[in-house]
Symmetry: C2
Subunit: 457 residues, 2 copies
């Protein structure tokens, strides 16, 4: 039987699939707020029942926080694991919502139907695309597509405190040939994409100390060192005139983009003027010899996320402060080692201090970059399936942000992960009036059916 029967079933079943998603969206599973603990539990129960109705052996698995949902079905061919999360972000400010965030509805919008409500895009709508693909498959074939594990988390929006311990304790059960993660988006809201590069993150808080107390700038100005000036000079020196980061050894482990990947990225219809124009800018500010997509996806950064020192209130106070502070973060790529960079950064800053100054550092977490193995058997079939469904060549893309889950599968379960998602840039995830386009939902379901068809073939 061809895939077309499954796709037809998906088309016919879309209204019912939408109703099922609306049911799940009505459960206010806000993981970060203890007041919604019972709702998180209820969402997990709802998913267990849903998975059981599809023929999965599904159960709710306790953790010190919110429960995991784990489901298995046997089958031939490769073993795939699907990951999603059933928890959602808080909804404040509530007054900016046009409707109750947990009374979801299908709305007719200027660009077609949208499913409006908290979690519609992040991540309930996305995770349901996979489950609905399985449902249609089962309806047509009588069985699920193959050997599948479904692994759903309830703490993604609150830092995933239970995730790594659960992975470690259940490694044998969870390990599969590839992890499918549905928590990303279409490139430029229309181009199907598989994220293969995620930047890592290193955070550092720097405090420069100078005089042992705040001084009067009239009594000491000129002769006493000013920590704000020292810190500004250090920050200014972190980049050279071409935009390169000056910390010695910083570029160790930064790979050059392969010719193939560069060609693929150049083929993408990335509207650079709109990307910057949307935020009031016109000129890319990074390394002089890189395209904006390269800057965002494949190049490391050093940014100052916060700075403070001295008098910052109304009016003026002629103080020479005793200390100045900055929060500095690095986005990492390739094989850059966060620990080595932390050390190199601290050594560099310390070496820049003038006499009479000292510095304190406080680490704020670190994660290496994620580089997906496109050699894994699943990638090329999935890319072909997505290209077929959307009528646009699916691309391997990067992501400037950090999605730690992909790295966790590699680190703790030795599995490759493949990030596929159907969100759009205007989904307003984490914000009021979150929505998921009906197109995303519908073609997302169809996409997974096609991907599973090719993977399990």
């Amino acid at each position: 039987m061809s895939i077309n029967a499954v796709l037809d079933k998906i088309d016919a079943d879309l209204p019912a699939a939408t109703d099922r998603l609306l049911d799940l969206l009505r459960i206010p599973s806000i993981s970060t707020d203890p007041a919604f603990k019972a709702d998180c539990d209820r969402a997990a129960d709802w998913l267990v029942a849903e998975l059981q109705s599809l023929g999965f052996a599904a159960s709710k698995r306790p953790t010190p926080g919110h429960p995991m949902v784990v489901a298995h079905c046997a089958g031939d061919g490769p073993h795939v694991l699907f990951y999603g999360h059933y928890d959602v972000q808080p909804v404040d400010p509530l007054n900016l919502w046009d409707r109750d965030p947990f009374d979801p509805q299908v709305e007719d919008g200027p660009a077609g139907k949208v499913i409006r409500g908290r979690g519609s895009s992040d991540d309930k709508g996305q995770l349901m695309t996979f489950l609905e693909a399985c449902r249609a498959w089962k309806a047509v074939h009588g069985t699920l597509p193959g050997r599948i594990t479904v692994f759903l988390e309830g703490e993604e929006e609150s830092g995933s405190p239970s995730l790594i311990p659960f992975m470690q304790e259940n490694a044998a059960e969870l390990r599969a040939d590839v992890a499918l993660i549905c928590d990303t988006g279409l490139f430029e809201s229309k181009n199907p994409a598989i994220v293969t590069m995620l930047r890592g993150l290193l955070g550092e808080e720097v405090t420069v100390h100078g005089p042992n107390k705040d001084l009067h700038s009239g009594m000491y100005g000129g002769a006493a060192i000013n920590p704000i000036r020292v810190l500004s000079r250090i920050i200014a020196g972190l980049h050279d005139a071409t935009g390169r980061i000056t910390v010695p050894g910083f570029y160790d482990g930064v790979p050059e983009l392969s010719d193939e990947m560069r060609a693929q990225w150049q083929g993408l219809a990335f509207d650079h003027a709109r990307f910057l124009g949307d935020v009031g800018l016109s000129v890319p500010a990074g390394e002089a010899d890189r395209t904006p997509l390269e800057m965002l996806w494949s190049r490391p950064t050093c940014e100052v996320n916060g700075i403070w020192g001295g008098y910052t209130g109304e009016g003026f106070k002629t103080v020479l402060p005793a200390e100045a502070h900055a929060k500095i973060s690095f986005r990492l790529v390739g094989q850059q080692d966060p620990f080595a960079i932390r050390e190199a950064f601290r050594t560099y800053v310390t070496s820049q201090l003038p006499a009479d100054c000292s510095v304190e550092f406080k680490g704020h977490g670190n994660s290496p970059a994620g580089q997906m193995s496109v050699d894994n058997f699943a990638f090329e079939p999935a890319r072909a399936a997505l290209t077929e469904e959307w009528g646009i060549a699916a691309a391997y893309v990067g992501c400037g942000g950090s999605i730690p889950i992909a790295g966790y599968f590699k680190t703790y379960l030795d599995m490759d992960a493949m990030l596929i998602g159907f969100g759009k840039d205007n989904d307003q995830i984490h914000s009021p009036n979150e929505k998921y386009d009906m197109e995303s939902f519908h073609k997302g379901i169809r996409s997974w059916a096609r991907v599973l068809d090719r993977l399990m073939a």
Copy 2:
């Protein structure tokens, strides 16, 4: 009759003079707090009565704020005006005082007797040195020393809002041959000094704008301009490697120190190691080719008094902020023109902006430097009188801070001003446990008697 009779009278009368000062210190004349308005008025009344008892024609003069006290006596020779202020700073934090700040007392300290209480040094104790010198003179000679105007303000600690209008409205009445201002200190707490150079002050608040909203550093880091980095680079560029300020034209009007003044300053026993060591420093941070005293007294500065931007709370937020801010001030010397420097600074900062950034400026007041005319007839006699009293060569010194009153006499009354005072560095003015050494009070009274003796001769 020689000056010795007056000095003897001062010595004999010291206990009674101290009691009078304690009386004045008991009046909580905190000018900035409306709750103490009646007390300010009472302090003015007290001084009017005191001046009348000495034979002055004294009166309390209303202003929109606290009253002025103006007193005159006729006489031969030059006309001198004495300025002081009867208002005091607030006393919080009260729990750090060892006694009620308005229940003053003479205490025996390790370095001799001290008069403890709010205003003992700043400025009630200092202004009473002049009145007590007049009292002793009158007791010995039967008349006051000469033609004297006493001009006492009640708003010095709250920005002197009524001072300039009052000077303008009463210019003819107030104008004299020289103004004697008693609101400064001994150099290094032991060397009698006349302040002849005061630095001016220019304040600027700078806001650098970049993106039109705060951005996620994962989504935009690398490609979007970061205003904190832009501001840091501008601040770092305000000084060159030798510590000179780079704003074009900044040094216009900065005089070189005269050989005579340099020699006098080199002769001062300035303990540079202690000066910096007290605040935890060891190396002067300013221009490479200047001594610390030059830096503080005769060289202009550019300092950052405050900086802020992005996320400054606990933890970390990977934001690229839309804007960054700094409060920057300049200490000015010689003939530097605050308005010209404001323009040059703004032009310079604007010229340093990269594409897509804009800048806003907010002025925070400006005052030119004060350069006293040591050619005025009063300076050399006063210096000789101080040298005689203290047994140490009195010096013409600079002051790194700004004392606007000296400039106002020049600007609004076309009078030279001579700043003489007897405070010590550890008087804790504006802080808990303010004190005035009995030595300062006693020898201060004797100093004024000697100065008046020489000026009126």
